[in-house]
Amino acid sequence: MTPDVAEAVACTGLAYAFGETNAVDGLDLTVREGEVFGLLGPNGAGKTTAIRCMTTLLPVLAGMVRVFGHDAAGDRMAVRRLLGYVPQQLSADASLTGRENVALFARVFDVPRRERAARVGQALAAVGLTDAADRLAGTYSGGMVRRLELAQALVSAPRLLILDEPTIGLDPIARTGVWEHIGAVRAATGMTVLVTTHYMDEADQYCDRVGLMHRGRIRALGTPTELREGLGARRRAAGTAGTDPLPTLEDVFRDIAGSGLDESSGDFRDVRSTRRTARRVG
């Protein structure tokens, strides 16, 4: 099949279960080439499981996932060559310097020795870490570690950058810094960005389109403005708008999830992982 270049990611009927729990339950999703797409939802919505299927970390047992036309089930190496991946945890190796962390990924993506140092230098410069490049990553702040991970992902010139909760646990300044770097790199390289977050305000501000995910499926899809205005229109039609200002994405999400959005979202492992990351970034 000829890869469809307009679609960076295409998921059809993707399903994945952990025992009795359907983490992803018939996910249909298309991410267009060149956009910043936000996959939103609370802990346990299935975002990370969906991402793991797209990145080939989990097998695609039901449904189909294509990344730039390559089947994630059958052509995993081709898919991996197109990806830059930043997981939810702070995954830079604290016992290596920033430069060594990036160089490792240059090596495993087969960057030839003659251009390795220059490419690593450019990746570090792109995220503003040139001055700190030769310090151990263990001495970095949370925001710096996130930027270092971004450099690790960028060094192989990926066509699709996947970030799983990139700003979790960061303070507002560091969050802004991370998003600014993501946006600027995307603008300069034209790469597609797929990001998961449960910070609705960030998605509203930085994503071209968002998919609201709940209980393993996409429940709403569109630009943040479309989704907010759509809810506003529905409320006005139903006569329930009152004096409320324009709804937020969080209102849209509550409207879609209804009574299903409660404190039971996210299992022990999700919450522990989130808290561990938040603790590490301070």
């Binding site: 793991r52 990145t55 080939t56 970390l57 989990l58 097998p59 190496m77 991996r80 060559r81 990806l83 991946y85 930043v86 997981p87 939810q88 945890q89 702070l90 995954s91 190796d93 016992s95 290596l96 060594e100 490792l104 990924f105 240059a106 090596r107 495993v108 993506f109 087969d110 030839p112 220059a118 490419r119 450019q122 990746a123 410069a125 792109a126 503003g128 151990l136 690790q152 960028l154 060094v155 192989s156 010139a157 066509r159 507002p172 300044i173 969050r175 802004t176 810094g177 998003w179 600014e180 770097h181 600027a184 790199v185 603008a187 300069a188 390289t189 910070y199 609705m200 305000d201 501000q205």
Partner: protein, 286 residues
Amino acid sequence: MSEAPAAPPAGSADQYRADGIDLLLRPPEPRAGWRLLPARVVAMCAVELQKLRHDSTELYTRAVQPALWLLIFGQTFTRLRAIPTDGVPYIDYLAPGIIAQSAMFIAIFYGIQIIWERDAGILNKLLVTPTPRSALITGKAFAAGVKSLVQAVVVILIAALLGVALTWNPLKLLGVAAIVVLGSVFFSCLSMTIAGIVLNRDRLMGFGQAITMPLFFGSNALYPLSVMPGWLQAVSKANPLSYQVDALRGLLLGTPHHLALDFAVLLVAAALGVAAASSLLGRLAR
């Protein structure tokens, strides 16, 4: 929900273009075929050496135990003359066993590192690179081998300081290095295989401690095969550590040995270890 992000400063696309990102726009040419495996092995070994360069404390603390074995056990049993060693002073006979033991101790706990990397997200990130699982495991196993080799050098120096008559023939020392690395590849793969089964650091620590001493005492590291009861001889013959010690003893001391058999057994054990650990690596990624 959280507080909104602060007002934007920072980078623009124009700034990045000005800084130069031309290399970041061009994907590297993929390595294919046989060249991929050695490239991944070199990458993982380089990381291990970089870590040792930044913090070599572990090398020194891990040298204490082998030093004590040689100093106390070795010197005492040399005086006792309780163990038949064909005329070789017992401390000399013991030294290759202790070199193998200290290398094994490093390798056998390597699975803990892979569980730590799983918990930290590092393993997942590596698994999303164009690296087949078998290449990743082989790379990690050789990295454990490099670490063990550095440790073995420290123990050899301690043994030399204690007056053990070791060879300094460079070719034989090269053989020693190959044997230490091969043994460590097997034991680290054993550890990573157990990690893939138990999936948890505490359980792996328990398993590691449970198997380390039986592997050590069930080998020819401390005493020759001839003094063991029949059942222990059978255990020793199935234990790759015995073949590692036999080869090290032959190379370092010039005692009778079965070098070809030792190399063959360690090679096969290492290959089986890589296959087993690779097949279970997916469980750690879930």
